[in-house]
């Protein structure tokens, strides 16, 4: 991006610098808070803290977890676990992204589609991924497809809501102008509604990426031999507790990284949103 933007009013940048600490201080603070969390975990598990309502007696220590992570890292199974999980989340997420974006734009644009589609979707939305497991097994011919379906349900609704919100926020005057310039209905959707809704869609896609990972353990409870969710769940049943935490952290890190990747891609395809001024 070129940075030829008109200068930002001084008051704005002043206000921003007053509320936001410098880059170095920010990194230090973030690192310190992570270290503090780690220390609390270590102390609670090392001393087998028992607070009555919650007990850390059976929770692995950071050191045990690190050893478990090291052995997983050296295991040939790790690659299988990763590729299985990535492909499940990938397929579920990709199909949700396409379907939810198209559906959301149509719902946001047409009152008829909204009346026709939104009520059943609103009924399905609060149903947690776990509750879908039996039906997912019954509905799909292979367990692989059932698992993809579960990650799909996780990603679908955040993306749908983002797209609906985005489409509703499109300025009707832009649509009117496009039509006066000869745009057909399809061209209005492609040239005006889709880019106009981009901010909402990208926000939905980033949240949906996280919730798709969120549902991975649930999905991989169905069956399988490989997958990080499966590894986590299996570690519980065979009482290899440190591995549970390794699996949990791996899912957390992968989810966070892929959400960041989606955000970055979103920024690259919507350069006009990063400009100063009233980009609508």
């Amino acid at each position: 991006m070129t940075t030829q933007a008109l200068p930002r009013p001084a008051s704005v940048s002043n206000a921003a610098s007053r509320t936001r600490p410098a880059r170095g201080a920010r990194a230090a603070l973030q690192g310190a808070s992570l270290a503090l969390g780690l220390l609390c975990w270590h102390l609670a598990t090392q001393h087998r803290l028992n607070l009555g309502v919650i007990t850390f007696e059976n929770v692995p220590t950071p050191a045990e977890t690190l050893r478990a992570a090291w052995s997983l890292l050296q295991s040939p199974k790790l690659a299988h676990h990763l590729t299985s999980s990535l492909s499940r989340v990938g397929w579920g997420y990709a199909s949700a992204a396409v379907l939810a974006t198209v559906t959301g734009l149509l719902i946001g644009r047409s009152p008829w589609v909204r009346l026709g589609l939104l009520p059943p979707l609103e009924v399905l939305r609060p149903i947690p991924a776990v509750a879908w497991i039996p039906l997912a097994i019954l509905m799909f011919p292979s367990s692989e497809l059932s698992m993809i379906f579960i990650t799909f349900t996780g990603a679908f609704f955040p993306i749908l809501l983002g797209a609906i919100h985005g489409a509703e926020s499109v300025d009707p005057r832009l649509v009117a102008s496009a039509r006066s310039l000869g745009a057909s209905r399809a061209a209005v959707l492609r040239e005006v509604v889709l880019p106009g809704a981009a901010q909402g869609i990208v926000a939905g896609l980033a949240i949906g990426m996280g919730t798709s990972w969120f549902c991975l353990v649930t999905a991989e409870m169905i069956s399988g031999q490989f997958g990080i969710g499966y590894y986590t769940w299996e570690s519980y049943t065979v009482q290899r507790y440190p591995n549970i935490i390794v699996g949990m952290l791996l899912i957390g890190v992968l989810g966070m990284a892929s959400s960041a990747l989606v955000r970055l891609a979103g920024r690259l395809v919507t350069p006009w949103l990063a400009l100063d001024g009233s980009a609508r």
């Binding site: 070129t2 030829q4 102008s177 310039l181 880019p195 100063d276």
Partner: protein
């Protein structure tokens, strides 16, 4: 400038007993009642009137964004029944697409016609040069000043060679100096390709400087109460040596128009209507002259 289709007819407008009702249910009201006007091809017409007099609504009917309740509107004898690139529209607040650079915004109408990218850009650049934006082709709209945005907006509406240009207080949000520069530019562009122009304003000076003919509208419901020719020869001067605004005839006509508008002010503040017919618009209403 883009060449006009030689077979296209020139842009005569006829409104016959036109009425428009806006809103629904209990909120439904008559915005325009029984307006009959005919506008010659190439004529520059200003519609003058206070907020809520239905002037923007009338523009919306001509653009094809509002369906009249009664009567009919035609362009060269063909009933207007939807938006069409033959009828370009320019809003008070620009409607450039924030996600397209200025050049692609201006060339949008050509893209919708299936014109190839190279020719699109070539004609877009020529038009940008014409309105003084040659150096800003690669900027996004939010990187332009208000006056530049309106120049790009006008260029975009002109690129397909419309028979009629509909303008809804296009310079209303600009400062006085930029506004008079924009008026001169508009007259330049208009005199080259001579589309019919219907220009909505509540600024008497602006109407007298631009128009061949002024239609004065009064609110509640909107009707045309005066249809006058503007007697000044073109080009109209607005300089230090000679200024139209200070001539006795100009002042006399201005006084007459002021009196017309003053007596027709609505008792209650009227809603600001938009050419999209969606009732009071979200734009802040500026005070009538």
């Amino acid at each position: 400038m883009s060449a006009r289709d030689p077979f296209a007819r020139p842009g005569g407008v006829a409104l016959e007993a036109l009425s428009v009702a806006l809103g629904s249910g209990a909120q439904r009201f008559t915005a325009v009642r029984d307006v009959s006007v005919s506008i010659a091809p190439g004529e520059f017409v200003c519609i003058l009137g206070p907020s809520g007099c239905g002037k923007s609504t009338l523009l919306g009917v001509l653009a094809g964004h509002i369906v009249p309740a009664g009567g009919r509107a035609t362009l060269d004898g063909v009933r207007i029944d939807g938006p069409h690139p033959d009828r370009g529209i320019v809003f008070q607040q620009h409607t450039l697409f924030p996600w397209r650079k200025t050049l692609d915004n201006v060339a949008f109408g050509l893209k919708m016609r299936g014109v190839g990218k190279q020719e699109r850009h070539q004609r877009g650049r020529a038009l940008l040069e014409r309105v003084g934006l040659a150096d800003f082709a690669d900027r996004y709209p939010s990187q332009l000043s208000g006056g530049m945005q309106q120049r790009a907006e006008i260029a975009r509406a002109m690129i397909t060679g419309p028979r009629i240009l509909l303008m809804d207080e296009p310079f209303g949000a600009l400062d006085a100096q930029t506004r008079s520069m924009m008026q001169a530019l508009l007259l330049d562009v208009w005199s080259e390709s001579r589309p019919t122009v219907v220009f909505v304003t509540h600024d008497i000076d602006e109407a007298l400087f631009l128009a061949d003919r002024i239609l004065v509208m009064s609110p509640g419901p909107g009707t045309v109460i005066e249809d006058m020719r503007v007697p000044f020869a073109r080009p109209r001067e607005r300089g230090e040596t000679r200024d139209l605004v200070t001539e006795p005839e100009f002042i006399a006509i201005k006084r007459h128009l002021l009196a017309l508008l003053r007596h027709r002010q609505p008792a209650l503040p009227a809603p600001r209507l938009s050419p999209l017919g969606d009732g009071p618009s979200s734009l802040p209403s500026t005070s009538a002259p």
